[in-house]
Symmetry: C2
Subunit: 540 residues, 2 copies
């Protein structure tokens, strides 16, 4: 992964490169970027958040006034699918709006009474900043509890009676506030009517996005990196949507390849309509690990703009952007000094490469955020950000499929992210986690330096040196090495699993490895075994 | 709702009415019905459940040997949609099977290490049997805790490190065991290869079932009660699937109406292929409250069998089957004796009307179970039961959409249902809940007796007495009464919201009311207001 080439503070200045030709420039952009202090001040001014059972909320309730200094997003009616255009607001949920009238009694909705919930309270022991349990002089855990009637009895903001009842499909107001604030703090979408909605994780969000923007009866197709996330490809294909791969380099998607494909599209040869959607993982791309620089993102965005392509931005590793690997200063060496763990949160944010959402003047990006890689996968909760039109359609779909993330997840993640950590504590956690993963990555690369044959460029295997090159297909060589790995006791993922276009010949011999789970010692042994398997196949 | 007409004990004897003609009768059915003691004995024999991170599990691991005394289910290839038939097992999850080999090291899967989870433990205070906090001499809550490494450190069965990591799309082995046991204990499907999978709730399960069995390009259509659950109708329509209503009486679906529709289907007049799916809510039907007797269920099942119709059984109120309302012995009267709250669990189970799944010799039922109405809606966790073929396809779909219910939900529901309550405690909770809801229902009906004009049959309004009958449509009268209700401060649901066929004229003037949420006093006032609104409209 590359280090940063720009920062959020630079985005406003850099914006002219990505502008809209169709409209007068937005009003004076005396944009005061939102800060942690700004969030605190806004909350203080707004007063206590009052949101009971199934309370309606949207991002507009929690955004800065300056967010509206921009133009509104474009409309996407021409891209949305017949399925999602046919969705109407839920009759029962619409009727419930009448309950806002004071004194109104309900014989209508089927919301059960919390009196019949067998759960009185939820508690959790969590690590807390600054050291997150790493410092032995500190108590390692901090207890946080949510009672059944904290709103009524303890002047609380959220409680079990609300969290565990039915809720809105975009999530509780309590979590909506947090994700909206975080989105503005970190991503600052440069159009007026952006909104968030909670998701049940990015796998579910992608499936929903596909249902919203793609339709096999229109012969729709999607573009993505030529090697792309296997689960995403498996999600797209059964929907009858064709996938086409865009060439990549170490910074991911090549804008010229993207432009070339779109400019020369021939519907008959391709067997599909010209792509209207790009699915991309801009940082820590799966499986290649590539991260797009700010300039690359702008170039890709501009090509999408030119061809009216809508973008699904999936960036679960966004906060784990690491410094380049330096063998001499490997973070995995004993006694290595971790210069990043004491970084200020301002500095951390400034050094993150802006997202596609952050340069999205059109509202043509649906961004998916996830807690899976940075808190726990088991929350099955994340969020999406897009224009009001798209989020409204997203919510209509969720009303009939997920009904939003679990109340247990919303309750406990709220206690962790909002009440215990706050925005600053969460940023500190991300800084600490990035150090942790940098160390793991360096351990993996140290092991590669030590154990892999010189002709092997990390885990891109140079197949031209293979004795059977020409006799065997790359797929056969890949299988041979994979089987040999399994025999010697190491599992790595085959590159072919990630091929965007299944019927196209492989362009190289790839193996994906991950440093997320194994210990340092195991990684050393695993890479040693992998090296032996490659050597055996190459007879070197 | 009706009281029971049969019981699980009678099912085996009653089965000959629903048999399969194509095959020899199953092997000798010396079926020992599974009991609570039987579950305990089986667990003791199986030894401790060992299931770590993302462990694979299926119902076959937890079923009684006698479950296999039946024939296998039929195959449903001819009904499954192209989308679901095109789904392949996830490459990364398949590769993970190699990790079962001892000593295998993984550079493959992206499972994060629990070392980086900021959550050390989860706790919950729950009500417990026998009195569930109703008895003031008892402590009202019972604390239960799950630590991060309970499996490793405390010889535990489940822990935070496993529950909050990625898991299988059908759920954890820990919860799979519980739902499989419960399904066998209560429903006893009469075919060999039934299986369960966790769902994210029945809304999500229905959406998935529709994607699995319906395809608009085949012009597929669905049958359901002529007044049906509004959210289900809103889920079906945007998929381009036409819905046709079957006539109902106080026991729900009329088999002769079902047979008549299917026997005389004309594809051109109807604008759809002959229906291949029936969606039904057999007890406490929403919105009519109708409950099918055992005989009615058999008759409906046999009609489906005759026409090769597959059945989606959605029965969230199954355990709330109540005795008929008796004005003289209303459970809402002060000092009413609750004869049901001390019922034995055996008696409770015996008196539940068998489900469609319980008479399903073909494996043609996909049953959806939910905790929303009987524990908390916020778990966003339930389960589905169907044949192995259908469940396998269901799991393939979940791998690309929900990834199964949240780990927080699985962890906490496991602590409640398995560790704290056990199967018996859960049945006792259901018995208590049914008493609670019987009391609420009786309060609503008491209020109806007191406040509604005599010409009103509960909340079916006799529109023939309306002064403007003939001048105004039923839809206009319904709107007038609804608006007048809102004006007088009471919200009830309009019958038209539940019409299966939107373009067909209403057959009556209906309002749905619920007794789930309001207090007894509020219900009295609400019904009084409703009565006034109807009187005003009818000028009586």
């Amino acid at each position: 992964m590359a280090t940063t080439n720009g920062g959020t503070v630079e985005v406003a200045a850099a914006l002219p490169a990505v502008t809209r030709q169709d409209n007068p420039p937005p009003k004076q952009l005396a944009v005061e970027p939102l800060t942690l202090a700004g969030i605190a001040a806004r909350r203080a001014k707004a007063g206590k958040l009052v949101a009971g059972t199934a309370a309606y909320s949207d991002s507009d309730m929690f955004k800065s006034p300056q967010a509206y200094n921009h133009l509104k997003a474009r409309r996407w009616d021409h891209h949305l699918s017949p399925e999602v255009l046919a969705r109407h607001p839920c009759a029962l949920k619409k009727a419930a709006l009448n309950l806002k009238k004071p004194g109104m009694l309900s014989l209508g909705g089927g919301l059960p009474s919390a009196d019949n919930f067998p759960i009185e309270s939820l508690s959790m022991q969590v690590q807390h900043p600054p050291s997150f349990g790493k410092n032995s002089t500190e108590v390692s855990g901090y207890d946080t509890t949510m009672g059944k009637h904290d709103i009524r009895d303890k002047d609380g903001v959220y409680d079990v009676s609300v969290a565990l009842n039915y809720g809105q499909a975009n999530g509780s107001a309590q979590m909506m506030r947090w994700v909206t604030e975080h989105t503005e703090l970190v991503f600052r979408p440069p159009y007026a009517d952006w909104r968030c909605a909670l998701s049940i994780g990015s796998t579910g969000a992608l499936d929903s996005a596909l249902r919203m923007f793609c339709d096999r009866n229109r012969r729709d197709s999607i573009l993505t990196e030529e090697y792309s996330f296997a689960t995403a490809l498996e999600t797209i294909a059964p929907l009858g949507i064709k996938v086409f791969g865009v060439r990549i380099d170490e910074q991911g998607l090549l804008p010229e390849s993207l432009d070339e494909i779109l400019s020369n599209w021939d519907e008959n040869t391709r067997g599909a309509r010209k792509p209207t959607v790009l699915y991309t993982v801009p940082s820590g791309q799966n499986p290649t690990g590539a991260t797009m620089s700010l300039q690359r993102r702008k170039d890709v965005y501009n090509v999408c703009s030119k061809h009216d392509v809508y973008i699904f931005e999936d960036e679960p590793y966004y906060y784990l952007q690491m410094p380049p690997y330096d063998k001499a200063n490997s973070a995995a060496q004993p006694g290595a000094v971790d210069v990043y763990s004491n970084q200020s949160t301002e500095n951390f944010l400034r050094n993150l490469i802006p997202t596609l959402l952050s340069i999205d003047v059109d509202g043509r990006v649906l961004r998916m955020d996830s807690f899976s890689k940075v808190v726990v996968p088991g929350s099955r909760m994340g969020w999406v950000t897009a224009s009001e039109q798209v989020i409204e359609r997203y919510i209509r779909l969720q009303e009939c499929c997920s009904q939003g993330p679990a109340g247990f997840s919303q309750a406990l993640m709220y206690k962790l992210l909002d009440e215990t950590w706050g925005h600053e504590g969460y940023l500190r956690w991300l800084i600490r986690l990035r150090s942790e993963y940098t160390q793991r990555r360096d351990a993996l690369l140290d092991a590669c330096e030590k154990h892999l044959p010189k002709d092997v460029l990390w885990l891109r295997v140079d197949h031209t040196r293979h004795p059977h090159v020409g006799e065997k297909t790359l797929l056969e060589l890949e299988e041979e090495i994979f089987d040999s790995c399994i025999e010697s006791g190491v599992l790595a993922c085959r590159g072919s699993w990630f091929c965007a276009e299944r019927d196209v010949e492989l362009t190289g011999l790839f193996f994906r490895t991950t440093f997320a789970a194994a210990t340092q010692a195991d990684m050393d042994v695993a890479i040693q075994r992998f090296g032996q398997a490659v050597r055996a196949s190459f007879k070197i």
